[in-house]
Amino acid sequence: MRYLEGPLTLSYDAGRCTGCGMCARVCPHAVFAMTDGRAIVADRGACMECGACARNCEADAISVRAGVGCAAGILAGILAGTGPTCGGSGSSCCGGD
């Protein structure tokens, strides 16, 4: 299953990579892969902007606007005048496992 790829905000500066492999390990959609001791973006379009890679990159080589792709949360944020917020009580995304 693929989602909208155009608006994705993931960017990666290969020059900063130290080859620790953390981004490839934490990404749940195999966006990053390791080749020759360096990370490459293998499948940018699969990114869901969870932010795990950027948060775990010690070299600050990755940036992404992290957030939850949840229409209910975005709508709740608009109505409350805040940014997108995930999960008030009753939001279905915060009950799965």
């Binding site: 909208l4 390990r25 934490v26 990114c47 969870c50 775990n56 957030g67 939850v68 496992d97």
Partner: protein, 363 residues
Amino acid sequence: MTVIESGRERLAFPWTDGVVSTAAGDVPRVRAALSARDRLGTMRARWGIGRMNYQVAPGLYAVGTPDGRSPVLVSANYKMSFDVLRGVLPGRDAWILVLDTRGINVWCAAGKGTFGTDEIVRRVKEVGLELIVSHRTLVVPQLGAPGVSAPDVRKRSGFRVEYGPVRAQDLPAFLDAGMKASPDMRQVRFGARDRAVLIPVELMNGGKFALLAAAVFLLLGGLGPHGYSTAGVRAAGLPSGALILAAFLWSAVLGPLLLPWLPGRAFAVKGAVLGAVLAAGLVPVLRSMPAQALSPIHVAGWVLIIPAVASFLVMGFTGSSTYTSLSGVLQEMRYALPVQIAAGAIGVGLWVVGLFVGGGTAS
């Protein structure tokens, strides 16, 4: 000492069966096997019953008879997350470090940051973990990574974060392989079963709004050129309320189930197509009904309302899916929401007009 205090308090739970003594005090031991009561709790949570208060007290727990070399597995204090974890550990010795995520699962709590670096560092210190284990490794579920900075945890606590597999079921294999995950263990899936288990909560969350909307249509159905009549409620209100409920059930069940096969990438498009199929299927049924019940104007109204409702509902399923991005959802909402509102409003407008000019109820 707070550890012992909270340890005693935590012993009150039926899924504990004693304590393990450590240099930092007694640690409650949990049963690795899930009881019928645990399974019932999971089932209730799946239906959204008491889901927001289905919690485990944060702190350290023992599985089996762990010692200083046993792995430390980090979890959230949502009881379902905790149960899934301990359920895969029969016959093993391990420590479970439960973070305070306010009863929210690992993935969602990581998105909010409650399953995060600060809470790990605080909890490691609070339970005196460095006194209990001789190694300095924490196994953190990979889905917690959006909230956790492994480099920062190491700097601030001395513990190295090793990201475990996405699914707890793979944890034994991960541990046996010397904390190595295969590429498959690192990927989230969204298979038919993963989607199906989300249907009950979709039904429970949306159900009250659907019932409310159905009731409004039922009551407004009594309006007509000759004022308000219960005959109108029966003739136009009843089928209209039923149509709203049908559109809701259709979308909440088939949306998740048929997701991969519905055309389009945007969930709003998938939903609109799903709704259009229902509307197309219903048109002959509606047209066969007595004209005073549902006039052609009514039928036109439903052809707009049903896809609009389905589109909105399936768009809402982005929050439960495991592959949608914030940027993508923002983009589809920008286009879809105005269309959904317009189609819904015009549809309801036609429906109301239909009550007055479409034949009405000659009571």
